[in-house]
């Protein structure tokens, strides 16, 4: 009885010492940040990031080979946690969000033909350059909405994509998928935007869209620093946009919009500002 206890105890002791020695000798260094990240990730191993499971994504993040925003299930919370772990300051200044530069929905912009093909903007764009007369306007077939990992894009009833300023993380997936390049990245604190993407001459724009930029230069004359006009299309100069909203009441087609104040009223992109106003408020 005693012999059995002693012999087993000795074997156990020797094995424990050997294991303890091996653990020290053959230890593999794991970056503590990797463990922390793994902790922060949802742990669903869904593969949406493009890596084999959360561990693979964590490794890639520590290696610095990938953006923080590749985890759709985690959403904005996880992005913030990851930024904290990796030592990035998720500062408001660095944050960019996507904006759809168009307000010409199916009521306000003229159609060119009756599109009945696939529910996909790229497919529609292949047929005579898209069903809208405007060469740059949103086609409203929701390709960006389907690709958005953060559920930040909504389609209005009249077929216009609207991006939530709160939910957008700036992952640029919608920009990659849009065949008309109507979505642009803008600094998140800039709330005044010219919501038009047509470089046609004013007279032509007036024919096919009630709310397009006609290149009349009035905004430029009102606040010279804040705007620039190229090829009959005004654009906000985001570096000097402090007074950009002074031009809003003067814009004849109401294509300039301030998301902070919601002005002008009745805008097609009303939805975006109602629930989610961020940035500078006056």
């Amino acid at each position: 009885m005693l012999a059995a206890i002693l012999s087993l105890g000795c074997i156990g002791m020797i094995a424990a010492i050997a294991l303890g020695f091996a653990a020290k000798k053959f230890a593999v260094y794991v970056d503590p940040r990797e463990l922390a990240i793994l902790e922060a990730l949802p742990g669903a191993n869904c593969g949406a990031c493009g890596f084999p499971g959360c561990a693979g994504y964590a490794k890639a993040l520590v290696a610095g080979s990938i953006d923080l925003n590749q985890c759709p299930p985690g959403g904005a919370d996880v992005v913030a946690k990851l930024a904290h772990i990796l030592g990035f300051e998720a500062s408001a200044a660095a944050r960019e969000i996507a904006v759809v530069l168009c307000q010409g929905d199916n009521r306000k912009a003229q159609l060119k033909y009756h599109y009945l093909g696939l529910e996909d903007c790229t497919a529609a764009q292949r047929i005579a350059d898209g069903p809208k007369v405007c060469p740059g306007g949103c086609l409203g077939l929701a390709s960006c909405q389907r690709v958005c990992p953060f559920d930040a894009i909504e389609m209005t009833a009249d077929g216009l994509a609207v991006i939530s300023r709160e939910k957008c993380t700036g992952c640029r997936k919608c920009i990659a998928v849009c065949p008309r390049k109507v979505i642009r990245m803008t600094p998140s604190e800039a709330t005044v935007h010219v919501l038009c993407n047509s470089h046609d001459k004013g007279a032509l724009v007036r024919k096919y869209c009630q709310i397009g930029c006609i290149g009349c230069n009035i905004c430029l004359k009102t606040v010279p620093d804040a705007y620039k006009i190229e090829n009959f299309l005004a654009e906000v100069v985001y570096e000097h946009d402090a007074e950009a909203n002074e031009a809003l009441p003067k814009c004849p087609t109401k294509c300039i919009r301030d998301f902070a104040t919601g002005y002008p009223e009745g805008s097609t992109q009303l939805l975006a500002s109602a629930s989610s106003m961020t940035g500078r408020q006056k």
Partner: protein, 440 residues
Amino acid sequence: MKLKTFTGGIHPPDNKQWSSHKAIEDCPLPAEFVVPLAQHIGAPSVACVEVGQRVARGQEIGSAKGFVSVPMHAPTSGEVIAVENRPHPWGTSLPAVVIRPDGEDRWSTELQPADPSELTPDEIVERVRLAGVVGMGGAAFPAHVKMSPPPEKQIHTLIFNGIECEPYLTADHRMMLEEPERILQGVALLQYVLGAERVVIGIEANKPDAIALLKKHCLETPVEVMSLEVKYPQGAEKQLIAAVTGLEVPSGGLPMDIGVAVHNVSTAAAITDAVLHGRPLIERVCTVTGPAIREPKNLRIRIGTPLSHLVEVCGGLIEAPGKIILGGPMMGFTQLGFDVPATRGTSGLLLLRTEDVALHAESPCIRCARCVQACPIKLLPTTIAAYARRDLLAETAEYCVMDCIECGSCSYVCPATIPLVQAIRYGKAAILAKKRSSQI
């Protein structure tokens, strides 16, 4: 006796009762003609008239550019009031010549009548080219190109397409009933030019009156009139060849590769006009039909007549149409409004009510393979569509997407209402775009 046909296909309700009994009527001239310079497959023609110039009926107003192209002609005499981009049935604005008729309808003397027995085959082809004759079935492929195969490709069988398998359309049916002589003269001309041994006019069995009439006219001639099974798309070129000869056009090939040529019966009539009478292709028969039009008719229209005028001539609309289609319901082009003109390929104007065109929500594929059974080309529509929608172009091409004739049979039978032909068309366009960009 079992009628000949191809494998696959569908049986949509033909709805030809609206207009099949109506004799062809001449459509009065509209206030303005819009003649697009691109109405055919191939290079668009180039305007050769100026604003303010007076033109005569049948005068050349657009000259052909290259071999696969045809000239355009004035539909009536009058004044050119604009040469500019106008809405086109293809869905965009394209260059067009706008003519205001002067009411005299005076013929031009550019092309003179000729005696075919004194013409060589090459001279006949040249007259067809100058007259701007294109395939009248809908695709509008220049006829002179099909009439000049390379010398090593001898045509042994010449088939005339009197099938008209698209539901609603009755233009070719009325042509065969009312103008068999005009068609048969063209048949003889084409046989002479191509030197074919066998000549067949294929007609679907749902037109017994046309079959009987043409049989009577062809008694003393080598022309064979064949009754074919009623099935869509029996009138597609490759399916018609399969039904008549049992031969299959190789993948990516043309009918002339297997010694066959197919022309529409209305094209034969247009060739008669061009060669014998020196009349260019400025008019055609067009069926205006559908539940939303007050009085369906078969109209002989001038090319360039605005659709709004056709609607007016047919008594106007009963209700606002849910869908306006140029051509038939299966392969026609949906239009946004009535401001576009009828072109050389416009075999019909179909006006459907909103209740006729209810869209159904798509649901997942249940792997029933009805689309595979229906496909007349023996493709796998569900597989190709799935690849195309995921932009897997290499796989899409591997499954022979380029052989699809876009007949829409797969979408028609799909119980899950998956937009199969739409996805396949997207895949084809994507592959073509990729090819073009890699060539540049």
